[in-house]
Amino acid sequence: MGMNKSWVRLLTAVLSVSFLSGCWDQVQIEERGFVIGVGIDLPASKETEKQTEREAPDKPKGKRRYLVTHQFVVPGGLVSASQGGSGSQSSTSDSFQNLTSEGDSLYEISRELAVRTSRSPFYQHLKVVIVSEEVARSPNTFADVLDYFLRDPEMRRSSKVLIAKGKAKPVLEVRPKTEKLPSLYINSVAENTNQNARMIPEVPLGEVYEDMINEFSFVLPRIVAANNEVKVAGAAVFQGQGNRLIGFLGEEETEGLNFLTGNVQGGLLKTKVRDNLVIFNIKGTKRSIQTDIRDKKHLRFQVFIECEGVIAESFERLDFMEQRIIDNLQKTVAAEIERLARDAIRKAQKQMKTDVLGLGTHIKQTHPGLWKQIKEDWDHGRNLFASSDIEVKAVVYIRNGGSVNRTEIR
């Protein structure tokens, strides 16, 4: 009996050890290819398409083919560059690898990379997704290219989405001096919203999804690559119907838009006082909207912008200790804000006829009943947005004039 029991115990132990230990899903960290950036373009030539056609003529085909660039981290490159220190092999060229592949499915492209690299793509550290202008402009394509990134549970919703002016691939190929990995460089640049009012706040993938599934039009940051650096400035305007890129807002207009949406966290405003420049450093803004909905076909909006800040630079020798001068300067800065905002309104309302100012959202929140009636005709259909009346009023508070009052006595 006792003998019998100990056999059972031994057997259980052996079985447990062999069946319950270990991990089915283990992947050695050396085998993971950390993808930190993805760029999506349309293919330039039909070469590959024709080749696929020849090889597999009966295979189901998508409407569009994409050229996708994956940026992988090369960990060896990172280590040698940081330990090598002064002079010795401090080339940054080895710290990343870009692989470009063509296909009609993003998942297919991603899996095909496995036959080209020893490390299979691993997306948990994906920082940026760059979509080329061309892809975003094609009808019904923007949502298609992001589908895989949203559907795969491995993806993170915090990856930033940017729209490249021109092609996306060159953006991932810049070799900045300060950072080893282009994607991380882009990632940090896109976060500098508190330094500059000319870029719109970073938009993570999760928020793009929100934008795409909601009925409202939206903007995404624009990125341009040149001379081994990138510039994140301006905004790509997407029409909520069809989620398609319809145009860009320039840097000035983006600044105006940021004021209108209350998204200015920092930046500067230039004003002129008696022929000389005075630079105002923005510390924060607040926006509020008042609506007059009596006439549905002619809605009236009043956007109030409150902005506070300090004097950053002054070429005019003003006495910033005097209330009257501060008052006048506040009015001048306010006028500048109003000018920027009006430019943005002109472009969005009159030219693009697309509501990126968030007025539709405002109506939905404050007058849900009215919104139900007009949402089909807001910035498409009869386009009530274009025929509405938008006024801007800015109020500026200059909190102080900096560490000195006048730089010289003139």
């Binding site: 899903d25 919703r157 999804y209 599934i213 909601n214 404050t366 849900p368």
Partner: protein, 368 residues
């Protein structure tokens, strides 16, 4: 006064509160914001949570009343007292089957989610098997130990959920929450029907009141236990809508997991909060599973007295395993869950409420 508080093999009110809370929090917590957002289409779904929470509390309180009428009887025994032995046998058997099916459902739920988010290459058969073996092991031990495990786990669960919510506050967008109060009563009631499915589980009071030191506390304990999930569901719904907006939530398979994935603790020390969230979620699923398994044995065992506990475990486990692998995809899995809950509403809510009526009417009591 006993110096060893746990030596008397009885549970107090506090244990009951935690057991109820732990059992109610299960698969529903991950999915209910989606179904609720579909039905109500706005943030107003929180009212539905309140309505269904209130409903669950009333039913739970009544079930507690029924059970505390018979503080020394098992479910089978007091059902026999109220409605003859053969009828009681049928009811208890169905209850046993219900709990067995529920174990299958939860085991599979764990398998599905672990497969989708944690072990993408491990077959779901293997994940469920491994989990079921641990559940078996727990159930084979003492019932008291099992129940007290709830006491041990639940504070950890609450703490992590609290942390997830704390760090969600910073990504909350108030714009998504407005407009308030736009949903009609009809939609709200439809929504509360959906949430009701996520409140099931408090029927455990029918069976464990027997173990309570003071059975008359049972109704109070259920209501207190339900307050925790009611509060959690309320905040989770508001946070999920606040972070993602209603239209997005309608399209997320597991909104609550996505919420946990969204959280980033500043400082980068814990970049991935969802790993912690999965851990505690698995803990609550483990608790629910063991309790349901125990109740399946408890009820079947009270009809067939001669069969030993370990035999029951060995007989039921393969059945549980096979049923858990029955649904071929997520759609079938969710529909299995819904049907199961409807079955449960009938057998563990409607029938016991009827029993309570009959007991009152015939004046049957077990506590004299």
């Amino acid at each position: 006064m006993n110096t060893l508080p746990y030596a008397d093999q009885k549970i107090g009110q506090k244990e009951m509160v935690f057991i109820v809370a732990n059992i109610v929090i299960g698969v529903g917590i991950l999915t209910f914001p989606r179904t609720l957002a579909e039905k109500t289409g706005s943030i107003d779904g929180w009212i539905s949570v309140l309505i269904s929470g209130l409903f669950a509390s009333v039913v739970g309180w009544l079930l507690g009343k029924l059970a505390s009428r018979f503080p020394a009887h098992t479910f089978f025994e007091y059902t026999s007292l109220i409605v003859t032995r053969p009828v009681a046998r049928v009811i208890t058997f169905l209850v046993g089957v219900y709990f067995m099916l529920f174990v299958s459902f939860e085991v599979r739920a764990l398998g599905n989610i672990a497969k989708q988010y944690l072990f993408t290459n491990t077959p779901v058969e293997m994940i469920t098997l491994a989990f079921l073996l641990i559940v078996q092991y727990a159930v084979a031990g003492s019932r008291m130990a099992l129940l007290r495990l709830n006491m041990l786990f639940f504070p950890i669960v609450l703490l992590i959920i609290f942390f997830v919510q704390l760090y969600t506050v910073q990504i909350l967008e108030l714009d998504n929450i407005r407009p308030l109060f736009t949903t009609g009563l009809g939609a709200l009631l439809l929504g509360s029907k959906e949430v009701n499915l996520s409140f099931s589980g408090y029927e455990v009071v029918l069976f464990y009141t027997l173990l309570m030191a003071r059975a008359q506390d049972a109704p109070k304990a259920v209501v207190k236990g339900l307050l925790i999930p009611i509060f959690l569901y309320l905040t989770i719904y508001i946070f999920v809508i606040g972070v993602f907006s209603t239209d997005v939530v309608k399209n997320l398979t597991y909104p609550t997991i996505e919420l946990a994935k969204e959280v980033e603790v500043p400082g980068g020390f814990i970049e991935r909060m969802e790993s912690l969230f999965f851990t505690i979620w698995i803990m609550t699923i483990f608790n629910s599973c063991t309790v349901f398994f125990d109740l399946a044995i408890f009820n079947l065992g009270s009809i067939f007295r001669k069969v030993r506990k370990i035999t029951w475990i060995l007989v039921i486990s393969p059945l549980v395993y096979m049923i858990s692998l029955w649904p071929q995809n997520l759609v079938q899995f969710f529909s299995l869950g819904d049907q199961l809950v409807y079955f449960g509403i009938f057998i563990t809510y409607l029938v016991p409420l009827l029993l309570l009526l009959i007991a009152k009417w015939r004046g049957v009591r077990g506590d004299e």
